[in-house]
Assembly symmetry: C2
Amino acid sequence: MSSKRSYAIIGTGALGGYYGGLMVRAGLDVHFLLRSDFDHVQQHGLRIDSKNGDFHLPRVNAYRSAAEMPACDVTIVAIKTTANEQLADILASTTRDGGVVLVLQNGLHVESDAVAVVGPDRVLGGCCFLCSNKVGPGHIDHIDYGRIAFGEYRADGSVQPIRELTRAIEADLQKASIPAEAVDDLIKVRWQKLMWNIPFNGLSVVLNASTAEIMNHPASEALAEQIIRDVRAAAMQCGKKIDEAFVDKMMDDTRAMVPYDSSMRIDFKRGRPMEVEAIVGNPLRELQRHGGHSPRLEMLYQQLTFFNRNQTV
Amino acid sequence: MSSKRSYAIIGTGALGGYYGGLMVRAGLDVHFLLRSDFDHVQQHGLRIDSKNGDFHLPRVNAYRSAAEMPACDVTIVAIKTTANEQLADILASTTRDGGVVLVLQNGLHVESDAVAVVGPDRVLGGCCFLCSNKVGPGHIDHIDYGRIAFGEYRADGSVQPIRELTRAIEADLQKASIPAEAVDDLIKVRWQKLMWNIPFNGLSVVLNASTAEIMNHPASEALAEQIIRDVRAAAMQCGKKIDEAFVDKMMDDTRAMVPYDSSMRIDFKRGRPMEVEAIVGNPLRELQRHGGHSPRLEMLYQQLTFFNRNQTV
């Protein structure tokens, strides 16, 4: 692998557009796959409004289809998991021999679709702690945060020593001012993020409520905390020890947030398919594979599956 | 108690208007407490459209306040439990010395408010299997069913031999063509009715769905069945044995129904307080008093409590 790695960004939205834009600005070799925004970005580039400073990239490497893209060293998957059926075709084009895929999606075992295309030893996963929105074609509004914790994916959840390539990607991202951290236990990081995503994505849809509304009523606040505890218990049953203090941290962090619509609630309101399987179904099945069960998580999953039935836009 | 008993009907709506109308037609001595419909009913009487035959009662004993009513032998409570704070004043006026109260409300231990007024040995409770609506002032549309199972209320749930007075009320109701049945185990009958009311009232609000929509999706159908099983398990833990075949009966009966909005969903849509405490909270607390717990019922209760927060009309 050359000293200057090439990156393909699959999905140039709130997440891929933001991180990719930072990487272009830092001089990295980045190639963007776009759909509806292609014409606009081809002509006007990318515009990033960020709390860390706005910037405009008048020209970026934009592509209308994966077939036109160069085979890259690292393909970053930044689409929703509900669009993962596109990945087989995309990754076959964008991933060079010996290249890797970095899956920056929410949920658990969301890397398995990439593994099915490129094989088990060439897939990394990452959790992003990012608050940003796409506010127009090629126009990203970065509100806060931005950390990425990423590491090698193994379906069995085993801890993986951090490889040289992973360190190199970490260095590239850090060069782009992205707070990136390579980790040796990706699945544990994913479970920690699920301790927020399952209760607050899930309840925001079922209760039709923002995070602030959930936290401001004792019944929903108590339910959110119980679901956080259930996710932690599920992680433990699956062999990932998470400190109990992390429960209070999730609650305190959410209380401190401005009223916030989770990504699942935004999808729900727009009639789009929600990431129910990635965020709730997969963790639940992982728990069941480990002999556990959780009536609350099952009930939340059933309710979300019901609400997902007509989300087709 | 005279051979001809006097009846006060508290709440002249879909239930009190229908049953009271049948009783007037049969020549019983019936007195109706009305609020908003008083003027209309005073002038035009009650109109009952029924699958068993329409009828009109041009003159009924209508009262604007309980203080104007005669003290009666039997006071039938047919208001929503959410209005029970009115009962203390009402029952003090309508119940003669030695008179009894028959509480025809949904839920568990809904008789306790009447007990607090008239004492523990003078309260009966009943479950109504009735499908009717108030369609205008003093105008009831009886769609189907109509059975009442009623018996003496005891807070400890003990089986009570059927007293002479209970048999006399049963005879009065039957004379009025009401399929009434005195029972010795009211609390068991209430748990059986809760096996429908908890899942289908509860999920119709949380899932924003009719009974047909709940039954027509595998996720919600499975959740409804699990909640029915949880209610049965709660009844068993509280000492009331209900045959397992009753679970399938609840599911089959609901599948056979026309698409139906539960009373709780109707209240929710209209912005009215929902009977969450009577129908879900009280059974849950009864289970907890018996050392049991149920994550699904607790979660449903928390969700409904949240949805009830702004219901104030």
